[in-house]
Amino acid sequence: MKISHAWLQEFVNSGLSPEALQEKLLLLGFEVAAVQRVGPGFANVVCAQILDIRKHPNADRLSLCRVSDGAGEFSVVCGATNIQVGQKVPLARIGAKLPNGRLIQDTRIRGETSQGMLCSAEELGLAEADVNGIHLLDGTVSLGRDVAELMNLSDTVLDVEITPNRPDCLSHYGLARELAAYLGLSLRSPLEGLELAEEGEISVPVKILAPEACPRYVGRSLSAVRVGPSPGWLARRLSACGFRPINNVADVTNYVLIELGHPLHAFDQDLLRGPEIRVRWASEGERLLGLDGKTHLLDGQTLVIADAGGPVALAGILGGSASSVTDKTRNVFLESAFFQPACIRKAARRLGIKTESSYRFERGSDIAMAELAGRRAADLICRLTQPPARAGRARDEYVKKDPPVVIEAGEKDINGLLGTGFSPERIEGRLKAICPRLEKTPGGWRLPVETHRLDLTSAADLAEEVARFEGYQSVGSEPRPASVPPVTEGEGRYAALSRLRRHFASLGFSEAYNYDFVSKKDLSDCGYPDSEIESSLVKLLNPLSSDWAYLRPTLYIGLLKNLVYNLDHGCADVRLFEVGHCYEKGPEGSRPVIERRFLAAVLCGGYPSQFHWQKAKARPVDVYDLKGFVSSILPFDFEAGAHARGFLHPKISCRALWKGSAVGELGQMHPAAAQSWGIKMAVPRGRGTGGAGGADPAVPRGRGILRGASDTGRGAGDSQRAGAADLKTIWFFQIVLDELLGEFSARRKMAPVDALPASSRDLSLLVDEALAWRSLLEEIESVIRDPAEPLVEAHLVDVYSGEKLPPQKKGWTLRLVFSRQDRTIKDEEVDESVVKILAKMSERFGIRLRE
């Protein structure tokens, strides 16, 4: 809130400069967001005396004045009629600047020289309208005196951030009270010596029908009110604090708001329909046209001030337009009440209204202040209106009094929490500044809390007060040795995650961080049907925009957008990975949202680079690279076919299985899907030939990695020739990490390494074109698992097809490795085993050795 330094000084004379004050406020926990010097808006305007007035020779309505500022005499043309010789007036000298930006120059007006200007109150920004001509200065003012200085118009406005727990500091008086307690200075109240002459009618009757929301309502009638502009000093203070002056009645309510912190409301009493004012809950469907110009539809949870005809104000939030004070108002009904914070906040939030009044009520106002603020406002209105208005007696409906909050605290409660050694006397001194009614008890103190300190409810709160007043720097910073916390399970998961990230970075992937939000279009473009979006995905109730309406069920969308962005910005080799949460609705009866951690990556271009001078290193990424990346996490099993939604290629994709269940997928992005994301792809030729970025879809792909052996075969490599289309092929993989993280950190046990030399044989095989490697591999693995057989490893080292082969056949070269644990293997044993394996392959798959 904006705090005028000069105004604050009136309540607590700290003698602190704005800068020093800012420092003190910071130590108390009030940050000053901005400091603004508020000048008078003009400069080089001095007190001058009129020596002589003549008529302007060429203009009827102008006169020529000779004035002196003590140092010199000037001739000035003036249009005002209220001037007389001998008067002291503000002279804007040549070079002066006025609040409206006007610069005074040596000029000629209708042929006569004018060496300056005599100023009206309006021209100096001291009044809203120019009613009285030239502003007359007191005869005692010495000539040449700077008018801005004379009128004490300079001020500094501090924009103080008040935390939500301290609504009692949301006013000049409130902040002064805090400073006075802190600095040990006396506090001057604007209510001191206030003697309101109450006469005339007692106020309109008030009936509180919702005491749980409005425990106190003070109403007061003011009669014979002359509504008009506020005096300059008041208008200037309001403006400095960010309020627009309206009229003297409205301005007084705002003035009291920023002076005492208590919101008030003024009604035109003649527009209230009798016989009484009611504070009640609105009925469903009631409407009110507010001062904001909008009609608000009310419900049973909105507290209203109502007359016989219905609501006239949203209690504590906004006045109604129909009963507002206007220039025609003669009688005012002034409301000063206390509303429960939660009730005001709920209604204000539901109606989408935030006012200075609701801001204070929802944080908590001072119930004791209700009557005082009303009296202060009535007094001000009576003093500011001419002729003075008459104030009636107040009607104070105080229907529900809460017992005062009392805290019991001892020295140990304070020092024990702070780790300090403040003496009881010192603590008591600090506490007494906050709770003047403090009483000593055998265990410490009994502290009845003042009504404005809604934040004080426990001994911990008092400890903070002592620490604040003593200064946080007075608390030490040498921690004592701490006890050892218990070891928790699952700590290794975080280390595993960190290793995984580093692993992919060293494989050449850069890490992406995307928002968790996606649009419905994104989801559709990723193949999610509307029905699934509706039934399974998580929608935000209040998205920032429709582009961010859903929580992502996949990391693909963000990565794909990153890919498009990077391709558009000239980056050809894109390898990005992301670790992030993905969301889906939970099934009935379980958690409403299932949240899982995914690892996903997108690749496009060459591997390791698209532009390498060694051709073998400038080859396009292929699906077996992907299998390799994924297999480097854990030795997954793979199963052909992946994404049911058509996001990935139907043939060049597979699912990753761990212990039999699918945990992820990998593959080429479906060419049609890529097209819909605006990525230029090779034009499909149809008939299933080569539409898939050059890969021959008829080449079967399957399980590629054998435990302990690496999948070095790049079967489709020869059919995936490098070319523009290949390099724009997009690859994805995505793995659900949650269950796997435990596997990374699982304890490993050593297996003995074969110390004896192994033998190997390469077999060139002729295989049916339709046979998948996976089928053969399963057969070979069963041999490896057989302890009687010396076969220990099998690698596919070549895959070829071509005209030299019989039709419907393809060639595979296998490298088989044999060894015995207890002795060096003999050639004859190896030969014997090869014959057995060949026989098995021939029997099962019709495989034979190539000639």
Partner: protein
């Protein structure tokens, strides 16, 4: 047979005079090998000469044996020396023909980078791990209870204004606005003492601009034990700040307000860019707001069933994005979520 001895001696003399110069004169490795076979092979001249020793009288054998063996040692040593010399010469000759441009570009392996937020988050977490804070995580979709109510922010509490919230369900389901709900989850699941660090993603419903992001990251610390005081809080945070920003970092502790701590603290560190002199980043103040912290509010202990009179604790939180931006001098928070490789690969 004395004649045999004489013959042997003559052969030895002849061999000694011929074999060493022959080896000396060998021009290449092949002829050297041939000489080795010729003299020292299974049927080599010297081999046979030494074998013939056994047919001599014992006295001669004793006299001549050392001579024969000496010749073999010398020959072997010379062969080895010549072999090394010739091999070196051959290699040198080969290498003379090698043409290679060492300035050609490398194969770009391991060009990937960890996101600056990951790097920052892991470093900050590691500092606290070393202090005995154990890593914990929690769900990003939270309930109103964990995110607000249990943290002493009941419905209609004005502090909710500081947490603009994304809602995902009518039943109080929301995207967590801070990492603090993990405090509650942890304390509900384990008995004190508790000492945890919680890195993670959080959400605020606010318009995105150069310094605001609807998604950002925090690290939270919580320590609950008997007799934990504000002194421990200050000491830990001072250590944390120095571990992050250097051992001479100055910190300033100010009163603040968080509903779940009392007293509440805000920690400023001396501006990392200007060192406290005042610059644009610290708005000329010389200080940067870095951490929010405080002593755990008794109501939070009550919510998790800890006895506030027996247990005390402190908690603190820090914005990871802000720290990363200061460390790497990143000027726009949106860069962290744009995933431009030209940006990412700088870290």
């Amino acid at each position: 047979m004395p004649g045999d001895t004489k013959v042997w001696e003559e052969k030895w003399t002849a061999l000694q005079e011929s074999c060493l110069p022959a080896v000396e004169a060998a021009a290449d490795l092949d002829s050297l090998e041939n000489l080795r076979i010729k003299y020292l092979g299974r049927k080599g001249v010297l081999t046979e000469l030494l074998a013939a020793l056994k047919d001599l009288p014992v006295a001669d054998r004793r006299r001549l044996g050392p001579l024969g063996n000496d010749l073999r040692s010398r020959l072997e040593a010379l062969l080895e020396a010549r072999k090394r010399g010739l091999f070196k010469a051959a290699v040198d000759q080969d290498l003379a023909g090698v043409k290679a441009d060492m300035s050609l570009p490398a194969t770009p392996h391991g060009t990937g980078t960890l996101h600056p937020l990951t790097q920052t988050m892991e470093e900050l977490t590691a500092v606290l791990n070393r202090l005995g804070f154990q890593t914990e995580e929690g769900p990003l979709v939270e309930t109103d209870y964990y995110n607000f109510e249990a943290l002493n922010i009941p419905p209609e509490h004005p502090a909710r204004d500081m947490h603009d919230t994304f809602y995902v369900g009518k039943d109080g389901l929301l995207l967590r606005t801070h990492t603090s709900p993990v405090q509650i989850r942890k304390m509900l699941n384990s008995a004190p003492p508790v000492r945890i660090v919680v890195p993670g993603r959080v959400f605020r419903h606010e318009a995105v601009d150069a310094s605001h992001s609807a998604v950002f990251h925090q690290i939270e610390g919580l320590y609950v034990d008997r007799d934990v005081t504000m002194v421990d809080l200050k000491g830990t945070l001072l250590h944390f700040a120095r571990a992050m920003f250097g051992s001479r970092t100055q910190a300033r502790f100010k009163p603040s307000y968080f509903p779940f701590t009392e007293p509440s603290v805000e920690v400023d560190v001396q501006c990392l860019l200007c060192g406290g002199g005042g610059c644009g980043v610290c708005k000329q103040s010389g200080w940067l707001e870095m951490l929010g912290a405080g002593m755990v509010h008794p109501n939070v202990f009550r919510a998790v069933g800890y006895d506030p009179s027996a247990w005390k604790g402190f908690a603190f939180g820090i914005g990871v994005d802000r720290v990363a931006m200061l460390r790497y001098e990143i000027t726009d928070i949106r860069l962290l979520y744009q995933n431009d490789l030209r940006f990412l690969t700088q870290f």
